[in-house]
Amino acid sequence: MIEQLKRELEATFKGVSVTSEADRRITVVVDPLQALAILRFFKDRGFSHLALLSAVDLIDKHAFELVYILTSYAEDTGEDAVPGELILVVKSMIPRDKPTFKSVISIYPNAEPYEREIHELFGIHFDGHPRLTPLFLERQYPIPPFRKDFDTRRYVEDVFGSIPAIGDEEG
């Protein structure tokens, strides 16, 4: 199954590297321009479930890596059905100084909260997302707090450390 998928993928797209470091897991590293087409390709092949969308800040390489983890349900039976236990990891690097990517809501609708979360915590903008409004955070941060150059220790000292204790002064 893995071999067949690999052959089909390499026949359809150019410059895609497919590796498989575990029995049931395939890692596909793709160019950001091709990413949407490849995700659609996999959805048509039976990977109907986006299990996770996350981002990694690779500050040394000046890039963000977006990681899409796709699986399929075992009851998806059909000609091109894949076994349910297969896990597909699609990775795509985008430049750190221009963090913009296309939204995949049109392919996987459940990516909506994931993209909002990544937009809030990493500052990556998703084109075509209907509402990139704040999701979790209450406060305003100087830069998005999950980026590697966000200095949490100094932020804590500046913000929480500067709040005075009660009882030092008269109320």
Binding site: E138, R139, P145, V156, F160
Partner: protein
């Protein structure tokens, strides 16, 4: 009831009644939720000590904060605390409310809870055993006896400073001040 305490009951009946009927509201933030169910159920039966869980803050006079406090949770904690009737006692459970614990450099966790609401007792540990709640409760009895569990009085006295700290952490608060704070009130609301 101890026979030796009969004199105390006649002298200060309300204080004694408060002491032995601590109606607790548990604010289960984080991992303390694991310790609380065995405490209130048969294994460690908190009702032996007069501690029972209640449904709403309006019926409670013991506020247990069990675990780390994120900025968003702090808002709910302040609102819960302000809804409780006096006398009210607060016990912070675990090391996270004391100084942040393992979240001491987290961007989104409140470090010292006593800067925002008054705390009467601390239970150190990560996490403390359920027995520690009873140690805290018996210690709280002593504090109530001596009149040292006066967090709600401190809250009233230093309310302006507490409110200022709450605003520093949360920005503009959506609810009006619990007690008059003078200069910030506008439009003749102050009494």
């Amino acid at each position: 009831m101890d026979r030796n305490q009969i004199a105390k009951w006649f002298k200060e009946p309300s204080k004694m009644a408060n002491k032995y009927s601590l109606h607790a509201i548990y604010f289960c933030t984080g991992c303390g939720i694991i310790e609380v169910p065995p405490v209130i159920t048969a294994r460690w039966d908190a009702e032996r000590f007069g501690v029972i869980p209640v449904a709403t803050p309006r019926q409670a006079n013991l506020f247990l904060i069990t675990g780390y406090v994120s900025v968003k949770t702090l808002k709910a904690i302040i609102r819960t605390y302000e809804q409780m009737y006096e006398p009210k006692y607060t016990v912070a459970f675990g090391s996270c409310p004391i100084n942040g614990g393992m979240y001491w450099d987290s961007y989104n966790t409140i470090k010292h809870l006593d800067k925002y609401i008054p705390i009467d007792g601390w239970i150190a540990g990560c996490m403390p055993r359920p027995e520690a709640i009873f140690v805290a409760v018996t210690h709280l009895w002593t504090l109530i006896d001596k009149g040292m569990a006066n967090g709600y009085e401190r809250y009233r006295k230093y309310y302006r400073a507490y409110r200022r700290n709450q605003e520093l952490a949360l920005g503009k608060l959506e609810w009006p001040p619990l007690y008059p704070i003078g200069e910030h009130t506008e439009g003749g609301e102050c009494d």
